[in-house]
């Protein structure tokens, strides 16, 4: 019985320690998923969170500027102006009409500053008919479907 109790105490310590570590790790790396239409409603602290937003790249909106790339994401009729400021080259799949996932923060004037951009063209793994694929990649569309 004594050994069993000792084991239980050891196990308890391990689990609590790891839980604390997990909590710290979660605080460090959590990213909030939002839809474009939700962004204007965010207030206070939630404006400073790291956000992830998805949408389709509006045709003809991609502009290469010095130090950044601007484009517009469309999701359910709502537009969002995005500036990509990252140093990595944009993925090849990033083009007009591509499903796109951006991570970054919103500025006070409502522009989204993205540090990473993921894009996938409609036929990545499944050649699904045109828009019949509400993005396994796009957390935003996931919520609506």
């Amino acid at each position: 019985m004594k050994s069993k109790a000792k084991f239980a105490i050891g196990a308890g310590i391990i689990i609590v320690t790891l839980f604390c570590l997990a909590w710290v790790g979660a605080q460090q790396s959590k990213t909030y998923y939002h839809t474009i239409s939700e962004l204007p409603t965010l207030t206070g602290a939630s404006l400073h969170q790291r956000l992830r937003v998805g949408g389709d790249v509006k045709a003809g909106s991609i502009q290469h500027l010095s130090g950044r790339v601007d484009f517009v994401l469309v999701e359910q009729g709502k537009d969002l102006s995005v500036s990509y400021v990252g140093t990595d080259p944009l993925p090849d799949t990033f083009k007009d009409g591509a499903q796109c996932l951006v991570e970054g923060k919103v500025t006070p004037d409502g522009r989204f500053v993205a540090e990473t951009v993921q894009a996938k063209c409609a036929s990545k793994y499944e050649a699904a008919p045109a828009q019949a694929q509400p993005g396994s990649e796009s957390g935003v569309s996931d919520r609506k479907s």
């Binding site: 019985m1 196990a11 320690t17 997990a22 959590k30 909030y32 998923y33 793994y125």
Partner: protein, 690 residues
């Protein structure tokens, strides 16, 4: 041929129903003829699935573009080699492939134990057929790979329409490893069905003793070996193809493959407690149930789009089927357990904290905590949405913070566990067993710190790695010395004899050593460097000791793709050491591009050069170079893990006279009294065989 395949699968479906119904009737009535008939139905299901698979492969090889699945995943110019992997590159084909691999296991298990264990096998047959039935339902009615393109002509008559060419295979999958990785990983996934079926059968049939564990030990190890190799091949594929310089990103799909591996590893260790001490019966049954459920869950994760992932299949309604099956499976597991749990009572209790048992308990606890952490991190968006209404994802820091300490603790147990005696270990024997290895570890750590190492976890990992390596070596040395003293042969051949006499034990040590190499390789990550530059012909980039001179760009036209290639001359200390050719490829059939990373790999470090694309600013080609130390150790460790598993699968040469140092060395100075040692060993040996 298309009809042939779909008929075969349909027939397999019908026969699987018979195998279940007939099997249940056989279990109840115990009529030999019925038992035999249900088993034969099981065989037939497998053969029919093979025919279905063969027919799909044939359709791919003959470029039959009336088939929707073929047209979507292949094209005429695709190399023959990749037409094989195209078969399982999509949802439907990969599910059929699942059924196919499972049917190989099922056939082998039914065949190997035909006419044996009449109390157990009918139950096993039913459980296996039930799992097969689920996948056959998907293959036939939910995601059939045998759909054709058809059109209705004037008189309302349907006729087949053939496409001129297919959409082609995703370029990311056009890489040799992608032909091997899915079969290997799926073999791991599907293989865990066998121990699950036996555990469930033993529980349902109240099959006496630990027989099912002996029966499934090899099957579990085979599945585990495939799973390990599959995970590492996947990591290597990500490393060599995706071009971001790493091999593991805690992506949901990666996590899906890791979770059953964690519980499977826990199971492989905790079964020893049951075999040797009759403990942990409930725990083992649940571990193997959990492993199977995680296998199904992992298959579900990659196919349902529940969580976003870089390489998940498209979202589809198929997820509901998996959820349904999971709920059903959990219900069956629970019901079987509740009904027959008295059958699982333990013989023994934990005697001491300083014992082999407690090291196994901690090993299991830790592996399970790791699994829970990975699971909750993977499902974080789903869970947070359910609880707080907002989707929140967590990234690598979450997983690393939890799993790195866990990995360190596991490494520690890897060194300590095998040297602890069953029941109770004396402090004196601890001192004797661990003195030198611990010293080696500390010396290793001191040297590392002296050389400027400051990262806590890396130092700890190196210390533990040295410690574990020394305990493993000393185990071989101790045993070999005894044999050498008795037979007069030299130490090396004694070590070989020792290994062959107890392959399970010493194969296990080899696997542990492979894991140590993998850990060392992962440690290298702490020293990764990378540099990115817009480069034109003549530019130079310096990374670590290397200078990369970009010489020129050229382009090339292949039947299936066009490519652009950079030629980079690498010099080290003013001497040209190699040429690297990072490439970008463009595949017209599906308008996608892919990178071919140039990697120069040595045991010391990998120089990893990616032609990343065009700079958004200057439109110049961007070259991204990484210097990743020790990566090769991971792949090398993986090979050793696989070899160790194969070794552990071999039958023991003689089941006599093998030392079991953990128990006897606590009392007898090793080698001093071999006669006594062999007696204590003999008592244990028969249990090592199955």
């Amino acid at each position: 041929m298309d009809l042939f395949g779909s008929y075969a699968l349909l027939l397999a479906f019908a026969l699987a129903i018979y195998a279940i119904a007939g099997g249940i009737a056989a279990v109840i009535t115990r009529r030999p003829l019925l038992i035999k008939s249900a088993r034969n139905a099981g065989f037939a299901v497998c053969v029919l699935i093979w025919l279905g698979m063969a027919s799909l492969v044939y359709l791919f090889f003959t470029d039959n573009f009336t088939m929707a699945y073929v047209a979507e995943h292949s094209n005429r110019n695709l190399a023959t080699f990749y037409k094989i992997s195209a078969v399982w590159s999509g949802q439907e084909g990969s599910l059929l492939f699942w059924s196919f691999l499972l049917s190989i296991y099922v056939f082998s298990a039914l065949f190997a134990y035909r006419g044996k264990h009449p109390e157990l096998m009918p139950y096993v047959g039913v459980v296996l057929a039930a799992v097969q039935l689920f996948f056959l339902t998907l293959n036939n009615f939910v995601a059939s790979p045998f759909k054709v393109f058809a059109a209705t002509s004037g008189g309302g008559v349907m006729h087949l329409v053939s496409q001129a060419d297919g959409h082609g295979l995703n370029p990311l999958l056009q890489y040799p490893e992608m032909v091997i990785h899915p079969p290997v990983l799926y073999s791991g996934y599907t293989g865990f069905t066998i121990p699950f079926a036996f555990a469930m059968a033993a529980l349902l049939g109240r099959y006496p003793g630990e027989k099912w564990i002996h029966l499934t030990r090899r099957w579990t190890m085979i599945a585990w070996c495939f799973q390990s190799a599959g995970i590492l091949l996947g990591a290597h594929w990500a490393y060599a193809v995706l071009g971001w310089g790493g091999y593991w990103s805690w992506d949901p799909v990666e996590n899906a493959s890791l979770m059953p591996w964690l519980t499977g590893t826990a199971f492989l260790h905790s079964v020893m407690m049951q075999e040797k001490r009759g403990m942990m019966r409930v725990w083992n049954v649940w571990l193997v149930f959990t492993t199977f459920l995680l296998v199904i869950f992992g298959t579900f994760l990659t196919r349902s789009g529940v969580v976003s992932s870089v390489h998940a299949f498209a979202q589809s309604s198929i997820g509901r089927w998996f959820v349904g099956f999971l709920i059903l499976a959990i219900a069956v597991c629970l019901a079987a357990f509740l009904k027959n749990r008295d059958y699982l009572r333990s013989d023994n209790q934990l005697d001491s904290m300083l014992s082999r048992e407690s090291s196994f308990l901690f090993n299991n606890l830790i592996l399970l905590v790791a699994c829970v952490a990975v699971l909750s991190g993977t499902l974080f968006p789903v869970l947070s949405e359910a609880v707080r209404g907002t989707k929140i994802s967590v990234g690598a820091p979450f997983f690393n913070r939890v799993n790195i300490p866990i990995a360190m603790f596991l490494l520690f147990l890897t060194g300590v566990g095998p040297l602890l005696a069953w029941r109770k270990t004396s402090v004196e024997s601890l001192r004797r067993n661990f003195g030198w290895p611990l010293l080696a570890g500390i010396v290793g750590a001191v040297i590392a710190v002296a050389f400027g190492l400051r990262d806590f976890y890396v130092t700890l990992c190196l210390l533990l790695s040295a410690f574990v390596t020394f305990t493993i070596l000393s185990e071989f040395y101790r045993g070999a010395r005894v044999i050498s003293a008795r037979t007069g042969s030299n130490l090396l051949s004694s070590a070989r004899q020792l290994t062959m006499r107890n392959t399970r034990r010493y194969g296990g040590y080899v696997i542990h050593f492979g894991m140590v190499l993998i850990f060392i390789g992962i440690c290298g990550q702490a020293f990764n460097q990378d540099k990115q530059m817009d480069m034109s012909a003549g530019s130079v980039m310096t990374i670590g000791p290397y200078r990369l001179h970009l010489q020129n760009f050229d382009s090339d036209q292949q039947p299936n793709y066009s490519s652009e290639r950079a030629t980079i001359d690498v010099d080290q200390g003013g001497r040209s050491v190699m040429m690297l050719y990072p490439q970008r490829r463009f595949y017209p059939s599906n308008e996608e591009s892919g990178t071919m990373v140039a990697i120069s790999s040595t045991l010391r470090e990998d120089l990893y050069v990616v032609y990343a694309g065009r700079s958004p600013d200057s439109n110049l080609p961007v070259i991204h170079a990484y210097l990743n130390p020790l990566v090769k150790w991971i792949w090398l460790g993986g090979v050793i893990v696989v070899l160790g598993t194969i070794l552990a699968l071999l039958p023991n040469r003689h089941a006599v006279l093998v030392m079991s140092p953990a128990t006897e060395s606590a009392f007898v100075p090793a080698g001093a009294q071999p006669a006594r040692a062999s007696i204590s060993a003999r008592a244990q040996i028969p249990r090592d065989n199955d």
